[in-house]
Structure formats: C-alpha cells, structure tokens
Amino acid sequence: MLEVKNLRCSYGANQVLKDINFRVDKGEVIAIVGSSGSGKTTLLRSISFLHKADGGTIRFFDFEKDITRLKGSEIRRLRMRLGYVFQNFNLFRNMTVRQNVMEGLVTARHMDRAEAEKITDAVLEKVDMLERADYYPDQLSGGQQQRAAIARSIAFRPDVLLLDEPTSSLDPELTREVLNILTQLAADGITMVVVTHEMGFARNVANRVIFMEGGVVVEDAPAAEFFNHPKQEATKRFLRTVTDDCG
C-alpha cells in the first residue's frame, strides 16, 4: 500500500537516512524501534513530507513518483490519506477538542457539518474523550490531549496512521491510557506505523518490528521473530539494553 525505496535524507551535512526501503501493507501494525538519533522520526517525517527528502521514490497504492519531484498538489493529496500523531500532540490551541477533530473534516474535506459532527462524536467516544469535547487543549492532561490528537487523525479514515513516539512525553499512567487506545485501533484493523520506545507494545501489538540504527534499517521482521530470534548482532545488543533498562 505504502512503500518507499532508497529514501535518503539529511540535516545539513549529516546524513540521517541512508537508502531506506520500507513498505506497509493494509492492516499491518509496524513498530519502528531504535535508539535516539537512529532516524526513526525523520523516516516518519519524510514520508509525510514534513522533512524534505534528498532522494528516493514513494509509492502509494498505484501512484509512484520520485519523492523530490512531487508537486504541492500531489503532496496535499497524499497527506489527505495519511494520519499523523505527533509526540507533543500539536492540538490547535485556539480550538476545542471537538473543533480540532471537525477541522480536518469540514475545512479540509468540505464535509457536511451534521455528518462531520456525527463522525466527531463517534471518534471522540472511541478514545473516551466525548465528555471533554468542549475543552481547550490547555485544559487537558497530556494523555487526554494525545487521545484527542489520535481522534483528530483517525476521523477522516486515513489509509495509514503514522505515530511519532505518541507516548514519549507522557508519564507511565498516561502512557497506558494511550497505548490502550492504540491497541484497540490495531484490533479494529487500522494500518499503523508507530515509532516507539515501548517494547511491550511492539511485542504484543505490532505485526512487524523494524529496528533502525545510524540511519539504516538493521532488521525488519515479524514481531515474534524479532524479539525471540533476532538475526543481527546490533539488534541483539539493542534488545539487551532495553530489557536491562526495564530491570
């Protein structure tokens, strides 16, 4: 469904992504793991065009093109089908939770208001935020904000939901809140790519785990295989460190 080939990306002279090949199929939940600075977030940002790639091709269903040659209108059309959840939520601060969700439906997609309201209520219900629909982001906890942000990006039924460390700025309790929602979405069959440090989530919810280090994909394997029989030395080393950290 979504595939990138030979994706290259850099910050100045520092090459952050080196020839990444990566593909997502419908219904898959992919966890991207790796230590900080390995290029996970940049990967997510460049496939949603928030960071300009230096080279590579992108294929989305039957649309395929050199990622550096996309026109503004093509980028916008692709983004219309991608949901994105940010590490620090990025809810629109001048809008209530409900307005945040409605915005993508009514303003961006010109949906009928009544219909948009129905969808908004349904997604807010799903993330257990309906009661706080009329609150502004500043009045909510981090976990509530992230749940609202998730509602905002699933409301328009994206083909793929990209989540960039959705729980990294939350404390353990709020992390659990958000992970429960994500687990539920996975059960609903929503295609997801999650950059995460939550190994428990990667192991239990993801179908596939991708381990990145130094801007390359070191290992890409089904979750069970990844955790039980990692092939690469670097992956074994990484898994040892994270399990040590967990005690």
């Binding site: 949603s48 065009f49 928030l50 916008r76 983004r79 219309m80 991608l82 949901g83 994105y84 940010f86 620090n88 990025n90 809810l91 629109f92 601060r93 001048n94 809008m95 209530t96 915005e103 993508g104 303003t107 961006a108 997609r109 009329d134 609150y135 502004y136 982001p137 500043d138 009045q139 942000a149 905002r152 990006s153 328009f156």
Partner: protein, 224 residues
C-alpha cells in the same frame, strides 16, 4: 486654591473634554486603524518572505523606527509643501503617526506570527489543510492572542503621543489646554487638568483591555 483657579478649571473642563472627543479620540482612532492595517501587511510580506516586498518592508521598518516621530511630522507638514505637496495639519499628523506606529506594530505582529509553534502548522498540513487555511484558521488567531497585549499597549501609548500633533498646529486636547493656559496664565493647573483627562481615558482603555483579554482566552469555564 483660589476661587479664580477653580473657576478657570471648571470652565475649561468642558472645553478640554470637547477637544478630547472631537479631535484626540478621532485622531487616535484614525491613526490606530491605519497603522494596524499597514503593520499587518508589512508583517505578512516578511513572514511570507515575498522576495522584493520583504526587503522593502525591512528597509521601511529600519527608516521609520530609526528616526524621531516629530521629525517625520515636520517633514510631512512643513517640508513637503516645498516640493508642492501641501497637506492640512490633521491629515499630516495621521500620515506621520501611522507610518511611524506601523513600523513598530509590524514588528510585534511579525514576532507574534513567528511565535506560533511550527507544530501547529505541521498538524494543519497533516489533517489536509492548505497554507491559506492554516494561516487564517490556526496561525493568525493564535498570533492575534500573543500580539494583543502589546498592540493594545501601542494604543494606550498612541493616545498620549497624539498630543505631539500639537507641534504641527493640530488643535487637539493638549493644544487646547496650551491655549487656555496662555490666556489665563495658569499653566500648572491647565496641564494637570489635561493630564488627568489622558489618565482617565487610558484607565478606560486598560479596563477594556482586561475585559477583552478575558474574552480572548481559550478556556471553557470549568463546571465545578
């Protein structure tokens, strides 16, 4: 205080209030409206980084912030007639003040737009909005809230600064006080009276600011 002084103060008060309502307030309102529009345009071309215009805006700000307001007023009112452009005192003051205030206010607006976190724009793109929609629905409303106290401060400053227009013969409230003081030889009392009216005016504006700031806040009254 002598009875004569009371009488002078009492009889000059309606006069001063009249000039306040008839000249000072309209003068301030005209200048503020014009400079707000101009400042917004100056800020926008810089934020959008429109090639030639953005450079022109920076040069504009450099010149009008870098020279005294009173000199700018003198150039327009006393200087321009020598090249065949003659303007009355009131429009001269409006033009000079607007050009000057717009330079300052454009910096406030530009900084406020740039103070809106880039994540807000990115989130806008990722739900499918275009640049125009992001600006009008997300960035500008947030920037307006950030800019509001400073821009309102400019209005309060302008109310007082409008008295400078007296120097190019605009008969506003301060000039009126000057004229009465010259006639009655009571400068201390008259200038204090004018000062008090300015203070009242700005007290009202300060209260208005507080009210509007509360209205602008993005908080739903929480039910207890």
């Amino acid at each position: 205080m002598s009875e004569r002084l009371w009488e002078i103060l009492a009889s000059s008060l309606p006069n001063l209030l009249l000039y306040c309502v008839k000249v000072t307030i309209p003068l301030t309102a005209c200048i503020y409206a014009l400079s707000l529009v101009l400042a917004f345009l100056l800020a926008l071309v810089q934020v959008l980084n429109i090639r030639v215009l953005s450079g022109a805006a920076r040069i504009y700000v450099w010149i009008f912030r870098g020279t005294p307001l009173i000199v700018q007023m003198y150039i327009i009112f006393f200087g321009l007639p020598s090249v065949g452009i003659t303007l009355n005192a009131f429009p001269s003051a409006v033009i000079a003040f607007s050009l000057n205030y717009a330079a300052y206010m454009s910096e406030t607006i530009r900084a406020s737009i740039q103070a809106v976190p880039v994540g807000q724009t990115e989130a806008g793109y990722m739900i499918g909005l275009n640049y125009f929609q992001i600006m009008t629905r997300i960035v500008l409303p947030q920037a307006a809230k950030i800019a509001f106290p400073t821009l309102f401060g400019s209005l309060i400053g302008l109310t007082k600064d409008s008295s400078l227009a007296a120097s190019i013969t605009v008969v506003e409230m301060f000039k009126a006080a000057q004229q009465i003081a010259a006639r009655t030889f009571e400068p201390l009392a008259l200038y204090c009276e004018a000062a008090l009216i300015y203070l009242m005016l700005n007290t009202a504006l300060t209260l208005l600011q507080r009210y509007l700031e509360k209205r602008l806040s993005w908080k739903q009254p929480l039910t207890e």
